[in-house]
């Protein structure tokens, strides 16, 4: 269940939109921010708020990479695999991070801290290779600096 306050805010946002559907992605994102991922419960709530069927919400949710229909870690790590990063060793960075975290790309570590995802593109091409953890962007990475970043992020997530 979402708090009434969030529900009211979302209802207002929907009412201010040109059509209810226009607000669909925003609603899904807000619910995702609340639950950590877009749970089945959230899908049902979104459908109710938007006046569409849960199936229609599902259809939208599965289209967008940043809507998570499975639980993710506290920090989602996006490693850029675009051409500039790839040319500067981004692919091997992603592989090495996966090996160090002991999870496949797309996986979440057992303690639920990190989910590792490739992303194309973070637009930080001049400072390749790049990754983004939450909203923080990191460039010119090596395996060592990337692991250092993850340690910092782990600490900040605990606080």
């Amino acid at each position: 269940m979402i708090p009434d306050q969030l529900k009211t805010a979302l209802a207002e946002h929907i009412a201010a939109s040109i059509t209810p559907r226009e607000a669909a992605v925003t609603v899904m994102k807000e619910l995702q921010a609340h639950y950590g991922w877009l749970t089945d419960e959230a899908v049902a709530e979104a459908a109710q708020l938007l006046g569409i069927s849960p199936l229609q919400v599902e259809e939208l949710a599965t289209f967008y990479e940043m809507i998570y229909r499975r639980p993710v870690g506290k920090r989602v790590v996006h490693v850029c695999d675009s051409i500039s990063c790839w040319a500067m060793g981004g692919e091997s960075l992603l592989g090495q991070l996966a090996a160090r975290l002991g999870i496949p790309v797309g996986g979440t570590d057992p303690e639920g801290m990190f989910t590792l995802l490739p992303c194309c593109c973070l637009g930080n091409c001049g400072d390749a290779p790049t990754m983004m953890v939450g909203d923080n962007l990191y460039g010119r990475l090596t395996l060592e600096t990337a692991l250092g970043v993850l340690e910092q992020e782990r600490e900040s997530a605990k606080m």
Binding site: R21, M66, S84, A87, C121, C125, G126
Partner: protein
């Protein structure tokens, strides 16, 4: 500004990572200690590299302005600040050995900055600073003294073409939209910059968001739109924040909202965030996404200018296109068209990346020869390796080989060799890049970003990728090249939207210019650039190996053995050719053949 001393510390992502924050604190401290009163310390660019210099490899960059004289220093660290203050600020003697060199000036002097001109000079979070560089003057002039059709005529005369990739004349597009009878029209700014290797739109929105908003106001007035959207990628959180703040400031000043500049014209601009789908950069897919549908392309015609968002006439232009508009209105069409080539006017912002010395964001007059971009602005190839090709236009573009180094970079020039301008990404490749692998890389991208609506793109890119993967893994067969070519043409000719139509371009252009590399992979099972690991054997040169053990540590399958301080050995039956040992060795002792 004034006669005081101004110190600008570059605090982009690169700047901060290089210690910009500490450098700044150090200046403040030193000024206090030395009792310098008329000095100010500013951030040249905050939190992020904006397009200011596009040259973060030299961070921390510091400008010291004394009596209007600007000196730029590179690689500044906190411990160097004291001497800067003592000798330059107090002693009025610049420290010449720390100043930027000729290459820094060559990087900048060969550019023509229009869209990027104010980036880094003004604080993107302050509307006052934008107003200080004649901000919103163009919008005021346009709305209060010009008729919409006159605005469209000026934009037509300027020769401005869409900077998002298609290159369609902006003024003509606007006139199509304005010609429709409708109760509602929409204007959309496409900031869904998804092309791998392109980051100019992010930089422009982060560095000068008001210019984009002002361009949209003028465009909205010209076509008669009362509602506008900026569709921006969720991957750019800082750009989103700056944009929202800029919109808020513009509303507070009455530049957005009802009855703008005392006229009857009203405009509301909303921000729409993407959620990670490359195809939404395609205009009809973008419209579907705003409407809350799956962001899949629709068949054209009808074009959005006639039937777009919610079926209403809609103009979609890219960030850079809008950012050009205020200058065109201020300085006139003739001024705008005075530089550029015959059919491509003005400048183009280019994201120069890859194996080049000066990576960064640059702005050049349309038609500048490729070699000037790479060897003058870009400073040549990194590590003095051999230039092989330049990839332009992202996944929709192609690779341009050495033989076309004199090519003028404009829409027609790039198209004439089978590539395209796209959004302006330029990735420089050297002799160590494998063209088959590059082609595979782009197909991986387009294949995973294909929305799946039309069959040629959904299945065609998949099959292309399978063949390319096979070739890079040493399983290539006689006839694969011809099959790739045939399939590429079919996908190009029969896909629904630009994504599918252009997805085969990397394959077509690399086969055209680097067919011998494909043949080497297929017939001789060799990768000439020594990139495709499955075609290589890894071994360690005993005379070079110092036995540090880094390679063994890096190996994920324990295929490397050896005593400490003794030469190591790779067990080739266990090796999975991942290349980690090659990357890990600091003594060039790991070889691949």
């Amino acid at each position: 500004m004034n006669d005081g001393i101004v110190v600008n510390v570059c605090m982009g992502t690169g700047g901060i990572a290089a210690g910009g924050d500490m450098v700044m604190q150090e200046f403040i401290k030193e000024f206090e200690t030395a009792g310098v009163k008329n000095a100010t310390v500013k951030e040249k660019c905050r939190l992020h590299k904006v397009g200011c210099r596009g040259f973060c490899a030299r961070d921390v960059l510091v400008d010291i302005t004394v009596d209007g004289q600007v000196s730029t220093y590179q690689y500044i660290q906190p411990e160097m600040v004291k001497r800067l203050v003592q000798e330059h600020v107090l002693g009025a003697k610049p420290i010449t050995e720390w100043l930027v060199g000729d290459d820094y000036h060559v990087f900048h002097d060969n550019q023509t900055k229009r869209v990027l001109a104010d980036l880094g000079k003004i604080d993107p979070e302050s509307i006052e600073e934008y107003l200080g560089v004649d901000g919103y003057k163009a919008a005021e002039k346009t709305l209060t003294t010009m008729k919409p059709e006159e605005v469209i005529q000026v934009v037509k005369d300027s020769g401005l073409r869409g900077r998002g990739g298609g290159g369609f004349p902006t003024g003509v597009k606007w006139s199509f939209c304005a010609a429709n009878k409708a109760d509602q029209r929409y204007i959309i700014c496409n900031a869904d910059e998804g092309d791998p290797g392109a980051f100019m739109d992010r930089s422009v929105v982060e560095g000068n968001p008001h210019a984009v908003i002002e361009g949209m106001i003028i465009g909205a007035y010209a076509i008669g739109a009362s509602v506008g959207y900026v569709y921006i990628r969720a991957e750019y959180p800082l750009a989103v924040d700056r944009l929202r703040l800029a919109l808020k400031h513009a509303e507070e000043r009455g530049f957005l909202g009802k009855k703008l500049f005392g006229t009857d014209f009203s405009l509301k601009i909303k921000v729409k965030l993407g959620a990670g789908a490359f195809v939404c950069g395609e205009e009809t897919a973008l419209i579907a996404s705003i409407e809350g549908e799956r962001g899949m392309p629709r068949a054209k015609p009808p074009f959005p200018a006639n039937k777009g968002l919610w079926g209403k006439p809609t103009i979609i232009n890219n960030v850079e296109t809008f950012a050009n508009i205020p200058q065109i209105m201020n300085k006139g069409a003739a001024w705008y068209a005075s530089i550029g080539s015959e059919k491509s006017k003005g400048t183009k912002v280019i994201a120069l990346t890859g194996k080049i010395k000066n990576t960064g964001l640059i702005e050049i007059p349309m038609g500048m020869p490729l070699k000037d971009i790479i060897f003058k602005v870009g400073g040549g190839i990194e590590g003095n390796k051999l230039f092989k090709a330049v990839q332009t236009g992202g996944p929709s573009g192609g690779c341009i080989p050495q033989q076309f180094i004199d090519l003028p970079v404009d829409y027609e020039g790039l198209a004439s060799v089978g590539s395209m301008m796209g959004s302006g990404g330029m990735v420089v490749l050297d002799e160590t890049d494998c063209m088959v692998n590059i082609s595979k890389f782009f197909l991986q991208f387009t294949q995973s970003e294909s929305c799946g609506k039309c069959v040629p793109c959904r299945i065609g890119t998949k099959r292309l990728l399978e063949i390319l993967t096979r070739i890079t893994e040493g399983e290539g067969k006689e006839g694969d090249i011809e099959l790739l070519q045939q399939l590429a043409e079919d996908v190009r000719d029969s896909s629904l939207c630009g994504l599918g139509m252009s997805a085969p371009n990397p394959v077509i252009s690399t086969i055209k210019y680097f067919r011998h590399e494909y043949e080497a992979h297929i017939k001789h099972k060799k990768c000439p650039a020594k990139v495709c690991n499955k075609l290589l054997t890894f071994f360690i040169r005993e005379d070079m190996c110092v036995g540090c053990g880094m390679c063994a540590k890096a190996c994920s399958v324990n295929a490397i053995s050896g005593e400490k301080k003794q030469p190591h050995k790779i067990n080739n039956s266990m090796c999975i050719q991942c290349g980690s040992c090659f990357d890990a060795c600091k003594f060039s002792a790991v070889l691949k053949e």
